[in-house]
Symmetry: C2
């Protein structure tokens, strides 16, 4: 996915998931550094109804497959920060 | 939740979610530093069938509510590392 395009498209996510992917509310998940493949699977599941959430559902309807790829790549990229990787001692 | 008890009980999670909550496979989510309330909601949803996953379902059946509280607290605690918090510049 295209990380920069993903960052733009992810503006709609920041209200709940935070500017840097650390969410503002304990009930909303952090997305910073999350696995892109996992995020893609979940966004797609919200879109096709396999996973149900009243907040996510209307938001994902407007996302194209490419948007989903880019957003997922963007959030995963928030782990590719050398300090972060060094801190966790593993990728 | 009790973080140490959670760490013990979370041994069953490490196979897929990694020793430090950074998962071994791109399709499995990282759990390190994830919000406890979110994790509790998802583990409970797997347990009552609101969320469906063939891998998670058999694992959560053996978890009590206290186990779920402790495991959630344990994974969230993996963010409470001062360097990690300082790195992200926000909690």
């Amino acid at each position: 996915g295209d990380i920069l395009a993903g960052k733009d498209r992810a503006q709609v996510c920041t209200a709940c998931h935070g500017q840097k992917g650390i969410s503002s509310q304990p009930i909303f998940p952090n997305l910073a550094g999350q696995k892109a493949a996992y995020l893609k699977k979940q966004l797609t599941a919200y879109k096709n109804g396999k996973r149900v959430d009243p907040i996510m559902q209307p938001i994902v309807t407007s996302l194209t497959e490419i948007d989903i790829d880019n957003i997922a790549a963007y959030y995963e990229s928030l782990i590719d920060n050398p300090i972060f990787t060094a801190l966790l001692g593993q990728k």
